[in-house]
């Protein structure tokens, strides 16, 4: 009975699922920005992972500068804003000129932004990885030890639904959100009503960068902050967006959960193959439902 002896304990499995869930919230924040800019701007923003990375580096610097436990909280507030504004500059300065061009041009531009910001990051922060301390330390335990995980992951776990709920409210119940939905289907008619769809594009792009930056700031205390982290998450986020249905916020949420949990269970069962899991999950889901698990806007 060797085989069973190797199986992890039940409580380990439960805890691993929750850690996976908490990490999937971060994936969601990057993926949702990607999916929203696909849905509204029809631009595949390769730089979204880079904005996530910049969120982490900026958070690191702000936390260091402010110092103490308060440092992290201030960083959590400021870093996403900085990244959002940087996104706005990229949209207004570069991307805006290419909306009427072939998609390949936009893709190449966002890829150029990736290369540019990666080098700028190396110039500013150097090539060594950075790490910062979580504002919450220790573990929390639920149900007589059946579920235990780092306290900080609890914060991550809460942040995802909060962001999703905030987005839901914005999209469905604010005037700007309604205009965003209208712009997603018919930009020309939005202009014909006398609304400047350029502004809506800028807001949406800025929002998607803000969310990526927020994800980066939130993940910063749990990981080595390196330049490569942007591409790693971007690949997973692209898979999430495709599997979730292009442009569908709830699809991105659901797919993020599936990826997060799937990956952490995979780590538990076959750590050597962990890197394959996202692709395996995406392949299976796409075979089952080639158009994505929820309605795609394209």
């Amino acid at each position: 009975m060797e085989f069973f002896a190797n199986l992890p304990e039940f409580s380990t499995v439960i805890s691993q699922i929750f850690v996976g869930l908490s990490r999937s919230m971060i994936l969601f924040m990057v993926a949702v920005g990607l999916t929203v800019s696909i849905g509204v701007l029809r631009v595949i923003n390769f730089a979204n992972g880079t904005f996530y990375m910049l969120g982490a580096f900026t958070a690191w610097s702000v936390a260091l500068w402010v110092g103490g436990t308060a440092g992290f909280w201030v960083a959590l507030l400021i870093a996403p804003l900085v990244v959002g504004l940087l996104g706005l500059a990229v949209e207004a300065g570069l991307l805006r000129r290419l909306y009427n061009r072939p998609r390949l041009m936009q893709l190449l531009l966002t890829y150029a932004v990736v290369l540019l910001f990666n080098d700028v990051t190396k110039l500013i922060w150097g090539v060594d990885f950075k790490s910062m301390r979580a504002p919450l330390s220790g573990y929390i335990t639920f149900f007589d030890g059946l579920l235990y995980m780092p306290s900080y992951n609890m914060l991550l776990l809460i942040s995802g639904p909060l962001v999703a709920a905030g987005l839901w409210y914005f999209i469905n119940h604010t005037m700007t959100g309604k205009i965003v939905r209208a712009t997603a289907t018919d930009r020309e008619m939005v202009d014909a009503l006398g609304l400047n769809s350029n502004k809506i594009f800028a807001i949406v792009f800025m929002l998607s960068c803000y969310l990526a930056g927020l994800g980066g700031a939130l993940i910063a205390p749990t990981t080595n902050i390196v330049v490569g982290m942007g591409m790693t998450i971007l690949i997973n986020a692209v898979l999430v967006v495709v599997v979730g249905g292009l442009g569908n916020i709830w699809g991105a949420f659901l797919a993020s959960l599936i990826f997060g949990v799937g990956e952490s269970l995979g780590l538990l069962i076959a750590p050597r193959f962990a890197i394959v899991f996202p692709f395996a999950i995406a392949t299976i889901l796409l075979i089952l439902k080639p158009t994505g698990i929820m309605k795609s806007v394209w």
Partner: protein, 234 residues
Amino acid sequence: MLEVKDIHTYYGLSHILFGVTLEVRKGEIVCVLGRNGAGKTTIMRSIMSFTPPSQGKVYFNGKDITRLPVFKIAKMGLAFVPDNRRIFPDLTVEENLDIAAHAGRGRGRSNWNKEKIYELFPPLRELDCRQGGFCSGGEQQMLAVARALMGNPDYLLLDEPLEGLAPLVVRELVVQIERLRKEGLSILITEQNVRAALKLANRVYVIDRGEVRFQGTVKELEENEEISRKYLLV
């Protein structure tokens, strides 16, 4: 006053409009008649600057609006109702009206609100929560006009508003359009359906292959059989 002066418009390399000149004076209903493919929609797209003319000018109340951004032209008080309606399909009927009202707040002299719209188009009241994409053709046409009105425009551009509607709906819409003129709106309509349009129009332009072939009053057009035979389906 809306003045189109000698405009030439292209889609890419294809030359569509060849020196079109027309005007809509305040309080008028002007009808542009022409067969399918004559260039009616292109005239509207040129005015709204969706497809700006590469030669010639468009003036609105004396101001040159040629090649201004679309949203600025709309803000000045020109509303466009496209032939395929282009209701926002994912927004409810009410939301379609809401964003138009938001866009038109503080604009123009007329003061359209939802109550006034429902009075003009009673069926819309019942549809409030329905998604635009699930409305029937007639409902979408009403909603498209209603959405344009919510922006409080002074001028309305209606591209084939009666096309594809049941005869009963056509009759109703003609009455409503007539009412809008009485409220002080100036209206440019394109049509292939000559008879319904002539009931409404003060003046008529007939276009064919991107050129104006006739202009005059409804009575003058009715007396000119040659024009009708050559350029219109009657």
